[in-house]
Symmetry: C2
Subunit: 264 residues, 2 copies
């Protein structure tokens, strides 16, 4: 029924690039859920399709795999000439997501496809919400994967973000090929920031029982190096961040600066 309804409304097709948030269906936006439910085709890699399984009911499903992003984008652009297509992207569609590649492929294909990017909750804010309030102030987001960005540039970005006291979020802290990237990144940040600065490590943020996290400090974070994997989100506080222990669990608070203006 979803199919006939959406096809009659969209004779020329439409391509949605849908950020599905961190994991559980309840962290999709209402709009993202509706778009997926009313699509003719839903395309994505298996991990993301599994996360939204409860929304798949009658749509044609196309499973792709990691490393096949270009093929997946081309297929989606082609299908969207005449059908309503949802390309699902973990977290937000922009942040290290599929939006860019889809628009690049659409641009090159010179096909006049209508594309709507549907934003979602990113791994950064999902992880931050579990840790407390680590990123209420200026922050920088850096992927440690040197598959698509030269490692030299990554080091420069780490250096500049650390030297001007940005809260720093690291994506892809580990890869199979370069296992040392994470330790090197911490080493660079420690050149500028005190060892007591809090660090949060989050795995599978808001993915039901799979979620796990650690609150530690720059001095101690490498004790957890083996715990960190490709999909861990790392949040390093700024010079004012602190750890708040409440009822046996630790959270990270980065002050916004109200304490300089108000008493409470």
């Amino acid at each position: 029924m979803a199919e006939s309804q959406s096809q009659s409304q969209n004779k020329h097709g439409k391509l949605y690039v849908v950020g599905i948030g961190p994991g559980s269906v309840e962290y999709l936006t209402i709009h993202a859920r509706d778009v997926i439910q009313n699509s003719d085709y839903v395309i994505g890699n298996g991990t993301y399709l599994d996360q939204i399984e409860s929304l798949l009911n009658g749509q044609e499903i196309i499973r792709s795999s990691m490393g096949k992003e270009v093929d997946r984008a081309s297929r989606a652009v082609e299908l969207a000439q005449s059908s309503v297509v949802s390309m699902v992207s973990g977290g937000d569609a922009n942040i290290y997501g599929m939006a860019g590649l889809v628009l690049e492929v659409a641009e090159n294909a010179k096909q006049d496809v209508e594309v709507e990017i549907v934003p979602g909750v990113t791994a950064i804010t999902a992880s931050a919400s579990i840790l407390g309030s680590p990123i209420v102030n200026d922050f920088a987001v850096i992927s440690l994967s040197d598959l698509l960005t030269p490692w030299d540039m990554i080091e420069k970005r780490l250096d500049s973000a650390a030297s001007t006291d940005f809260v720093i979020s690291l994506y892809n802290p580990k890869s199979r090929k370069r296992n040392s990237n994470f330790a090197r990144a911490i080493e660079i940040i420690k050149q500028y920031r005190d060892g007591s600065v809090p660090v949060g490590l989050v795995k599978n943020a808001l993915r039901d029982e799979k979620q796990d996290y650690i609150v530690t400090t720059l001095d101690n974070v490498l004790d957890y190096e083996d715990w960190v994997d490709m999909r861990t989100t790392v949040l390093v506080g700024n010079s004012e961040s602190r750890i708040w222990s409440q009822s046996g669990s630790d959270r990270i608070i980065t002050p916004r600066g109200y304490h300089r203006k108000y008493e409470y």
Copy 2:
């Protein structure tokens, strides 16, 4: 009904700090919607409460105003001793949101209140989704408001982010007191980045008919200086970003780097 149900389930109360996304109710997460609907109290400033008006049906509503953030947080912590309270925050609860202040107040109050931070779609990714794919790569987020951060530090952050080719998102580009902050920020970025680099300006992202945006370049953005206000989100591309004109509308594409690895 919402009240009696949630009170019976939560004898000790609970405080949710809820990111309500960029504007329309359909961009709330399903979880955020459910939390608000099942609260005894909903607290927030008028703008945000108006955005979620369709979800307010029986809860006690407490309207606060801008500049009263500390009072609002104290009140919420107090009420959450025995009631279920949603403190609403525009966009995400962390990013320049209320999560930090609420945890700071809870910490100082030394009251054992249970706090859950509920993440939402930020103005950054909402604006990015309208512009296309400006932030698929490493990015830095900087508020130009010097109310809570010294201007000198803001300039240093602009300089370091611009010099290492981060995509840059600017919050609070204008204030009543310092109208020149935006022009100064663009001047700093232009020291490192070509004048042809795309810049997107977005007002009221995903807020129904209020939404408006401009795609321009570093060379031309100050032509729109009067258009920019306190609530405009600014996105400055990196050295590889480009403008894609399709069917008369312009979008910003920042390549992720696949073009260095694949042909398409």
